[in-house]
C-alpha cells in the first residue's frame, strides 16, 4: 500500500517549502515539492 507524507514547513532554508512524498514498501516512489509563497515580483 502506498502511503503519502507531507513535511511542511521545511525548515533551515530561506523561503517556504512543502515536500510531499509517496512511500511504498519503505521506499519513496514519488515526491512533489511546492513553494508555498508567491510575492508577485
Amino acid at each position: 500500500m502506498a502511503r503519502k507524507i507531507a513535511v511542511d514547513p521545511i525548515t533551515r532554508i530561506e523561503g517556504h517549502l512543502r515536500i510531499e512524498a509517496q512511500i511504498e514498501g519503505g521506499k519513496i516512489t514519488n515526491a512533489w515539492s511546492s513553494s508555498t509563497m508567491y510575492r508577485g515580483i
Binding site: 514547513p9 525548515t11 533551515r12 532554508i13 517556504h16 508555498t36 510575492r39 508577485g40
Partner: protein, 374 residues
Amino acid sequence: MQNPETRLPEGSVPEEILQQWEKRGVSRRSFLKFCSAMTATLALPVTMMGRVAQALEADSSPPLIWLEFQDCAGDSEAFLRANQPTAAEIILDYLSVDYHETIMAAAGHQAEAAKHQTIEKYKGKYLVVVEGSIPMADGGVYCTVGGDSALNIARQVCGNAAATIAVGSCATFGGIPAATPNPTGAVSVREAVPGATVINLPGCPVNVQNLTATIVHYLTFGRLPATDQLARPKFAYGKRIHDNCERRSHFDAGQYAETFGDPGHRQGWCLYKLGCKGPETFHNCPTVRYNEGSSWPIQAGHGCLGCSEPQFWDAMTPFYRRLPQVPGFGVESTADKIGLGLIAATGVAFAAHAVASSFRKGDKLEADQVVKED
C-alpha cells in the same frame, strides 16, 4: 543583596551579572559594550545602564516566535549575523526562540507543535517578530505554512501575544510585494491583524540594533518604546537622515556629486542630485549605521533610497533621480503625497542654494516632536 557601603555608582553593572555572562562565554567587555550601546540607541540616560543589565538577568525570559511570510529572510540574516556587540548572542541566549523556520531544528508538524505549545502555555506573554507581508487576495493562498494561510497564522500568533514587532519594510508597510500592482493583495501586519499590539521597525532590512534595542526596552520597562503615528519607535525613527548626514555640510555649501565616480563623488560631496532620499526619510542610519557601526549607504557613496518609508517602492522611485517635475531644481512635487511638509522647506532652501537658517527652523520643529524616553 548589596551592602549599601559597597553600592556601585549609578549606571554601573553589578559584578555578579558580569560574572554570570562571562560563564556563558560573553566577556565583560562585550556585555558592557552591549548595555551601553543599547542605552545609547534608546536615548536613555547613562544612569539607566545598570537597569538594562539587570533586565537581562531576570529569570522570566519571554519566549519568542519569529514568523516569516512574504519575505526574503533579509531581516533574519541581519539578526543572525549581528555582532554589534554580540547582540544576537545575548538576546538569543536570554530569550527562548521557540519558533523560527530558518534556524529551528524541527520541521513539519514538530515545528508547528512547538509553535502551538508556546501559544497555549504563554498566552499573552510571549513576543512575536514578523518578517514579510501578508497576502490577503484569493483567500490568502499566496503564502501558506503547514497548510494554513499567513493571515490565519498571524491572527492566531499575533492576536495572543504580549506584543508583536514587525520588522522590515514588508511586515511594516507591505514593502515590495505590496508595490503596484500588488497582485497578491499584500498588506502589513498592522493592517492584517488590526487588534494586535504591533510596533513597526521598517527598513530593508531592519537595523538589528534597533530590533535588539526594542526588545531590551520591553525587557527593561515591560512595555514597548514610545512610537509615532506610523507605530515606529521614536528613538529610531524620530529624526530625518538629512539632518544627521555626514555629507550635510556639502549640501549646505552647494557641493553635489553629479555622476557616480566624478570628482565631487570621490570627495564625498552630497548625493542629492544622484537621487538621495535622505531629506524625506526618518531613520537613525547615520548615527547607528550597519555592520557593527562600520558604514551605511550614504557613507559608502550611495544615496538613500528611503527604504524605511511607507510604500517606498512606489513613492521613492526613480531611485537615481530627484522626484519628477522639478521646477528649477529641488522642490519636491510629491511632498504632499508623502506627507512630510518639511521636504518643501528643504527643496526651497536647495533652490536658493542652501540657506542654513531655513533648515534650522525645520530642525527645531522636528526636535520638538521627538520625545525622549524617561
